[in-house]
């Protein structure tokens, strides 16, 4: 196992990360390079379908065990617990209103599936295996943070009726991720063989194009968000993932995951949502300002995890096990 610096440098010169940086630069220089919305959504459907399915096939091969149940539980605890810490830190250090602090906190409890994908690819590049069911852990971590944040903002206009609950719980990415996961379990290796030319072979390449788009979005987020960033907020965007990762590493180690699995759990805990949670916040906590939580998650934490965080979490996970 390389040193963390070696890992980080190797990570930075993969096509994936280079395309992300290209997107970032294009946005910062205000190039009109752009990916049509439909293509971006199509790629995100593809990536979720593929990762879910492959995770399911993994489970169909290795079977279900106690560790899986523990990992799912750990995911729920992390997703629900991290917002509590994040909220407290935000209120103490940043001067955000309680509503805004709760909304930001929700993002850090929930997860970013693209960060998860990037970590999976990095593991694969190092020939480190991870448990297939980690994708189910990812899916299960999407929502608890949202409910905790709404509870934190209770009495501040958080609406939380049955309809909102349904919309949050059955949002497209959760349904596709878990649906594909179960399909993978049923279809098994045979099913994977049938469609691997679609979901395995071109996966990395699609991820490159997707990360180009993420770079563009993150860069625009940075440009637009600049005026809302205070130093305490900026710092939060960097130390909060580290705090999350520390808990992820601890839980992963405690329940006996493989090194790869620990790294993924740490990555999930460290990552911040920018799809599911923002949509939920607009519905249930409309007073919270998207101009704060979106640039934080997309412009600071996402690039940080992608470039520095992931190699670090992998290094620490390997050291732990």
């Amino acid at each position: 196992m390389d040193s963390v610096l070696g890992l980080a440098i190797a990570n930075l010169t993969t096509p994936m990360i280079l395309f992300f940086i290209l997107g970032l630069l294009a946005a910062l220089t205000r190039s009109d390079l752009n990916v049509p919305e439909a293509i971006a959504k199509g790629m995100s459907l593809y990536l979720m379908l593929a990762i879910g399915f492959k995770g399911g096939v993994g489970v169909s091969q290795h079977g279900i065990d106690l560790t899986m149940v523990l990992a799912l539980l750990a995911g729920i605890v992390l997703s629900a617990g991290i917002p509590l810490i994040a909220f407290r830190l935000l209120v103490l250090t940043t001067g955000l209103s309680r509503v805004d602090a709760a909304a930001v906190a929700a993002h850090y409890g929930s997860i970013s599936i693209v960060t998860f994908l990037a970590a999976s690819q990095a593991l694969q590049g190092l020939a480190m295996e991870a448990e297939g069911y980690m994708v189910a852990v990812a899916a299960i971590m999407e929502t608890p943070a949202i409910f905790v944040a709404l509870w934190l903002a209770r009495g501040q206009g958080a609406s939380f009726d049955k309809e909102t609950l349904r919309e949050v719980g059955l949002n497209g990415s959760i349904v596709l991720l878990t649906g594909s996961f179960f399909i993978g379990i049923i279809a098994g290796t045979e099913g994977l063989d049938a469609i691997s030319a679609f979901i395995v072979a071109p996966f990395k390449g699609v991820l490159c194009l997707f990360l180009l788009d993420m770079g563009l979005i993150a860069g625009r987020g940075l440009r637009d968000g600049r005026k809302n960033f205070t130093l305490p907020l900026l710092l939060f965007g960097v130390y909060m993932p580290l705090i999350g990762a520390a808990f992820g590493l601890g839980f992963g180690w405690a329940i006996g995951l493989s090194a790869g699995g620990i790294a993924l759990l740490a990555t999930l805990a460290a990552s911040a949502s920018y799809i599911a949670v923002p949509a939920a916040m607009r519905l249930a906590l409309p007073e919270a300002k998207p101009s704060i939580y979106l640039p934080m998650s997309l412009g600071i934490t996402f690039p940080f995890n992608l470039t520095v965080g992931i190699p670090l979490y992998i290094f620490l996970a390997s050291a732990l096990s």
Partner: protein, 103 residues
């Protein structure tokens, strides 16, 4: 050609809110509506552009309802309640239609 005066309500809201607005209109039994996607925009919360977006937040839709003057208030009240708390804009203008029975 003979035309009849009607009102045109236009609601601009963020995409995640669309279903709420439509729900209100359905509950009020308006005869129809049409939703148009916006491409980009600027409001209190800054600028947004649909390209490259992966989520729906920020992106705005415009819901157009053509209806009878008499029904304006019944429809405006609940719509307004929604948009005061949430992000959105409601405008009303005059139009003339050729098939009055349709609305």
């Amino acid at each position: 050609m003979k035309t009849y005066p009607k009102k045109r309500i236009e609601v601009m809201v963020e995409a995640p809110l669309m279903n709420r607005v439509i729900g209100i209109l359905d509950d009020l039994d308006v005869s129809g509506y049409t939703v148009f996607p916006a491409l980009a925009g600027k409001g209190n919360d800054g600028t947004w552009h649909r390209d490259g977006m992966v989520g729906r937040v920020g992106s705005v839709v415009q819901i157009v309802v053509i209806l009878d003057e008499e029904r304006i208030d019944t429809v405006l009240d609940p719509l307004f309640n929604l948009v005061t708390r949430q992000i959105g804009i409601v405008t009303v203008s005059d139009v003339a239609v050729v098939r009055p029975e349709h609305f």
